[in-house]
């Protein structure tokens, strides 16, 4: 078993084992705010302790340039939001960083290790785990099997050792214990034996996040964690995202809901037409004229009338639906 796998597995284990108390939740948030205090509010700003650094990432589909990012850094231990209008290239950028797609040019590194040309599964093993915009719950596997799948460095995943339960049985029990702990934390323990396909949209999002944690990541990348989630569950999901930071993980997420972005993120990166156009803490970014122009078109007032809000929402929904349809098309 490669060393990085063992480490990642071990780290994930301790991270979930030592849950922080409510008091330290503020602590991590303040620490992140403090670290980012002196960072200039401009695209490509250097961070004091970057976990991910990307340079000159470019991806073209035919004649269309989907992503063209000069330079971007992500602060370790912070929650960073990636926002931008539809077609801004956020998901493509996610795909590139996590090895699910290869850029035409560009270099990027995670923890100082170059990830150019590194396959998606290796990126995950290095500690950078993602979720998907359209949840990928493995519907014909049970919830607990979904969770167990997430654990890395499993002896029984080797075809020869798989034949003998005595070789992997003990480890399987450990993994199951850890999975059960996480399920309890995500309030999915009652659904343990259900097929993942029978869960609601929000529960699938929770399952996907919990399953990602089984990998023992240092950094979690969430592609629209709130999309399609029942409002009753959003608060709990938000809490879970914040908990990730408290557990010492770095979070990058794509989101459309500005209130949510303002609520949980320490830093916001704005993309439009494939480029990073602005960076900064949530409040400052949302006041930025470039962002307002790119994101909301003419609706530049911070406070929108109810009518305007409805209109923006309808537009966003329409665009989302289109993107989703596209995705489905691609998935076929």
């Amino acid at each position: 078993m490669p060393a990085d796998q063992t480490e990642a597995a071990a780290e994930g284990h301790t991270a979930t084992a030592s849950r922080p108390d409510a008091g330290s939740r503020r602590g991590r948030r303040d620490a992140a705010a403090l670290a980012l205090k002196d960072v200039p509010h401009e695209p490509g700003a250097p961070k004091p302790d970057p976990i991910l650094v990307a340079d000159g990432i470019k991806r073209q589909f035919g004649g269309l340039t989907a992503v063209d990012v000069d330079h971007v850094e992500l602060q370790r231990g912070a929650i960073t939001a990636l926002i931008g209008p539809n077609g801004a290239g956020k998901t493509t950028f996610f795909n590139l960083l996590t090895g699910f797609d290869q850029p035409n040019s560009g270099i990027w590194s995670f923890n100082g290790r170059s990830l150019s040309g590194v396959a998606a599964h290796r990126v995950a093993r290095l500690g950078m785990v993602r979720t998907f915009q359209l949840t990928k719950a493995l519907s014909k596997l049970t919830v607990i099997e979904n969770m167990r799948l997430g654990a890395t460095g499993q002896r029984g995943e080797n075809v020869f050792r798989a034949l003998f339960r005595s070789v992997w049985g003990a480890q399987e029990r450990e993994i199951t214990t850890r999975a059960d702990d996480l399920l309890e934390r995500f309030k999915l323990d009652a659904k343990r034996q259900d097929f993942a396909g029978s869960l609601s949209g929000g529960q699938r999002k929770l399952l996907e996040m919990a399953r990602a944690l089984m990998v023992g990541p240092e950094m979690v990348m969430l592609d629209e964690p709130m999309a399609g989630v029942n409002p009753a569950l959003t608060q709990s999901l938000l809490g879970h995202v914040k908990d990730l930071r408290e557990d010492g993980m770095t979070v990058l997420f794509v989101e459309h809901d500005m209130d949510m972005v303002r609520d949980i993120s320490d830093w916001v990166i704005v993309m439009a037409q494939g480029k990073v156009i602005a960076e900064g803490p949530p409040d400052s970014v949302m006041g930025d004229q470039r962002v307002i122009d790119a994101y909301l078109g003419s609706h530049h007032d911070a406070v929108l009338t109810e009518e305007e809000e409805q209109e923006v929402l309808a537009k966003a929904e329409e665009a989302l639906e289109r993107e989703r349809a596209e995705n489905e098309e691609t998935a076929q």
């Binding site: 990642a8 599964h121 493995l138 014909k140 799948l149 995943e157 034949l163 003998f164 990602a212």
Partner: protein, 330 residues
């Protein structure tokens, strides 16, 4: 109509050579398609590679029997690698097209006049099974319970065949309850999700392709040895689709389903063949409607229809649980 004969024929067919061969082929497909979601439409190619590997080694090059088995198995592994390398990174339908094309390439090559010296052209190869029957522990006589029974050669190949089926089922069972099997089933559901969890999906798919191919190739050996001769056209696309019908009949992604499917399938075919033939002979059906040679065509029509109906109305097979099958997931 001789109902006793018809029933005995059906029983013999249900445990006979074809049932063994197709059970093995379908067990391999179950690993590919049932558990991993790989659309291998070239299973007949794996059977062909094994059968010809054995036949050519022994009959053409005059090498020992066990070496033929080794070459046949190696052939199956190499075929899996050749098929997998270009296609396993691509969409599922590409694998389907490439595997069916590869199986046809194999069939057309071994039946060609150009390579007749090696593969025997459309007449195929014979005279390679001696080494196998030399090992036969059954003394020469008929082994019967009433009218139902086999001679010593059939007993030997059927014993070996069913032992292979049992061992294959055991291996599949052990693998599929393990974390390795879990990864396979997860790949069937959504391979990107599995990739995002740090599993090397490509490697697992390749392992699945090899294991399923090798299990299927056992069917090729059993067929070749049971018939003591092989012809290229046995390994056409219809063979693959028979195996699919059997797999779906039994219910994909269950350990025993290919076996159940094969038994039921060959019993059904034997029944319809025999009933029709007897009915024609007895004059119940006019031979202007259907004659004895056309019974074979009727059998294929029946298989086609069976495959359609199963897929439409009972994709989970006879015993399967609809919630568990992957077929309607996409």
């Amino acid at each position: 109509m001789d109902w006793q004969r018809i029933i005995i024929n059906a029983l013999e067919a249900s445990v006979g050579l074809q049932a063994v061969v197709f059970a093995l082929a379908a067990i391999g497909l179950n690993v590919h398609f049932g558990y991993t979601g790989l659309l291998n439409f070239g299973q007949s190619g794996f059977l062909a590679v094994a059968a010809y590997g054995l036949a050519v080694t022994v009959a053409t090059f005059d090498l020992p029997f066990w070496l033929g088995i080794v070459f046949g198995l190696l052939g199956a592994v190499v075929l899996a690698l050749l098929l997998g390398i270009p296609t396993l990174r691509l969409r599922a339908d590409y694998l389907a097209i490439v595997t069916i094309a590869a199986a046809e390439i194999i069939r057309l090559t071994v039946r060609s006049v150009t390579f007749e010296g090696t593969f025997g052209g459309s007449d195929g190869r014979q005279g390679f099974a001696g080494g196998f029957y030399d090992l036969n522990p059954y003394p020469k006589r008929q082994y019967n319970i009433g009218e139902f029974g086999f001679n010593e050669r059939q007993m030997w190949i059927l014993t070996v065949g069913w032992v292979l089926v049992a061992l294959s089922c055991l291996i599949v069972f052990l693998l599929m309850r393990s974390p390795w099997g879990r990864v396979l089933k997860a790949i069937r559901e959504d391979e990107d999700a599995v990739r995002s969890l740090g599993k090397n999906v490509y490697s697992y798919k390749m392992q699945s392709l090899i294991i399923g191919g090798v299990l299927g190739s056992l069917g090729g050996f059993v067929y070749a040895l049971g018939q003591a001769s092989i012809q290229p056209d046995i390994f056409g696309t219809d063979t693959t689709f028979f195996a699919y019908t059997i797999l779906i009949l039994g219910g994909a992604a269950r350990v025993a389903s290919p076996v159940v499917g094969a038994i039921v399938f060959w019993m059904l075919l034997s029944l319809t063949d025999n009933v029709l033939n007897e009915a024609i002979d007895a004059g119940y059906i006019s031979s202007s409607v259907i004659n004895n040679t056309q019974v074979g065509q009727f059998r294929f029509m029946l298989v086609g229809l069976l495959l359609m109906l199963l897929m439409i109305f009972r994709p989970q097979g006879i015993f399967g649980d609809r919630r568990e099958i992957a077929l309607d997931a996409r």
